[in-house]
Amino acid sequence: MREKPVSGPTQPLAAPPETAAAPPPTPALEVDAVSFAYRSRKVLDTLSFRVERGRFTALLGPNGAGKTTLFALVTRLFDSPEGVICIMGKDPRRDGAAALGPLGVVFQSETLDLDLTVRQNLHYFAALHGLRAREATARIEAELAAVDMAEKIDVRVRDLNGGHRRRVEIARALLHGPDLLLLDEPTVGLDVPSRRAIVERVHALARDRNVGVLWTTHLIDEVDPGDALIVLHKGRIVADGQAADVVRASGQDTLAAAFDALTAAEETGR
């Protein structure tokens, strides 16, 4: 019995398929039609946006815009009743705790244990993410060195100033190698040099480590023209794009003027 000839690579039976386009990369964070209300007061209204890996995305909004609420929804401190939030393609409500694995967080309020040393705080956090002691030690040393805090490793957090505590929080958020880094107004209460150092450091992280960064702030000078920018006002997104494009589209010269125009337009529009 003769076997059917097997077609070789040089004799295709059919025309080769056209080269398939590579699927778009999974965004670090995807927020789709998310709304939230405290009792009857709606604070977020049908928000949709994405944070891409390797990009610094600034979420700019005045006090009360809904930034911290959005932050609490992404970190699952609140559950979102409407819409979908995905971290690296996973919905924390469906995929449970595993979806939080690629997430690094720096909260607005300090969350370090003041009575523990920097080393103890970081080892505690590393263990929560399942890092073994030896690996944790290596990463702690590397991350602290990256934020110029290596010599403070055995200092109690209570004895550190605000800027140093912030740096430790950033080092902590990066210990487990997250794909998405959330920072909720991380420079509040810091002096100008500390603020500048942290902003530069986080920009470098996005660029060098391909981390998606969502940086909430109400300080306009923390946003670079090349950053992705989302302007949030009264729970709604009033602008979404590259910062320079947002300024251009608003017909203003500066981001500050564009921000004022966007939020004022929203005021009069209601």
């Binding site: 405290y38 604070v43 006090n63 009360g64 815009a65 809904g66 930034k67 911290t68 609420t69 609490a72 970190t75 699952r76 401190l77 609140f78 449970g96 705790a97 595993a98 979806a99 939080l100 694995g101 997430l103 967080v105 909260f107 607005q108 309020s109 300090e110 969350t111 370090l112 244990d113 009575d115 523990l116 103890q120 080892h123 505690y124 956090f125 263990a127 929560l128 993410h129 399942g130 890092l131 073994r132």
Partner: protein, 267 residues
């Protein structure tokens, strides 16, 4: 995360709770001094007034101080359970609980490990108290000190779960002190910690009935039997049931965003 990773995380939570306890020396001292004052002052006063017949699990007549010990052990654990819950409210407001809750761990597991950590602290406090009591000549059978251990773990978890349930119902740290006053003192006084139930019944059937349904009584009696290396299955079942129900309700009712909403930070 793997099973090993979950184990590492659980160990870290327990370690942090222990470290916090070590840093709070006054907490340890107050946990030790409070029951000792009861034992010495109250025990000395009531020794001559209150006659106790032979009753299980005691093989013979016992002094009032010996009768009080299980109630005081339960008091240590109740206070500790409430304090652990208080620390959870504090952590929720200060933010360190948020770090824990954004770790890739199942939320019920986080709360269970937090309970276990608090319980281990209370076990340490109880054995320190028993050592001091032994110095005053108040001793239990040697085997009882061993059989007490698993009972302490269970009752400690039960008190912790009750505290956690309470902490899930209060919005702010300041409100928790009031809740504690309405829980700790009624739970302690309307129980078999200070007097046997039959003694209560001599004066009021209603109070005796309240004592009988009080979960604190079940814990005290379970500990009393365990300290004498005797199993009381009824009390074990009741303690298990109270723990299961309160823990499930606490997990269901736990809202980590409460502190955020209350402080108006959720802008």
């Amino acid at each position: 995360m793997t099973t090993l990773a979950y184990g590492l995380a659980a160990k870290a939570i327990v370690w942090r709770e222990m470290l916090r306890f070590v840093h709070q020396r006054e907490r340890f001292l107050s946990a030790l001094v409070r029951p000792l004052i009861w034992l010495i002052a109250f025990g000395a006063g009531f020794r001559g007034i209150l006659g106790l017949p032979v009753q299980a699990p005691y093989p013979t007549y016992v002094s009032y101080e010996v009768y009080m010990v299980p109630g005081l052990i339960a008091m240590i654990q109740l206070f500790n359970g409430m304090q652990s819950s208080l620390s959870m409210v504090y952590d929720r407001e200060m933010g360190s609980m948020r770090v824990l809750l954004t770790a890739p761990l199942p939320r019920p597991a986080i709360l269970a490990v937090k309970l276990m950590a608090g319980t281990l602290v209370s076990v340490f406090q109880v054995y320190a108290f028993l050592a001091v009591a032994a110095a005053f000549g108040i001793v239990a059978p040697t085997a009882g000190y061993l059989t007490l251990m698993p009972a302490l773990l269970l009752t400690g978890m039960m008190f912790g779960a009750v505290g956690m349930l309470l902490s899930s119902t209060v919005r702010q740290l300041e409100n928790f002190a009031g809740v504690m006053n309405f829980v700790i003192f009624p739970a302690f006084f309307f129980s078999s910690a200070l007097y046997p139930i039959w003694k209560m019944r001599e004066n009021s059937e209603v109070i005796a009935w309240v004592c009988l349904v009080n979960p604190f009584t079940h814990a005290v009696e379970f500990l009393r039997f365990s300290l004498y290396a005797t199993m009381n299955w009824t009390m074990l079942t009741l303690v298990l049931c109270v723990f299961a129900v309160t823990f499930l309700l606490a997990v269901r009712g736990y809202d980590p965003g409460k502190g955020l909403r209350t402080k108006g930070r959720a802008g």
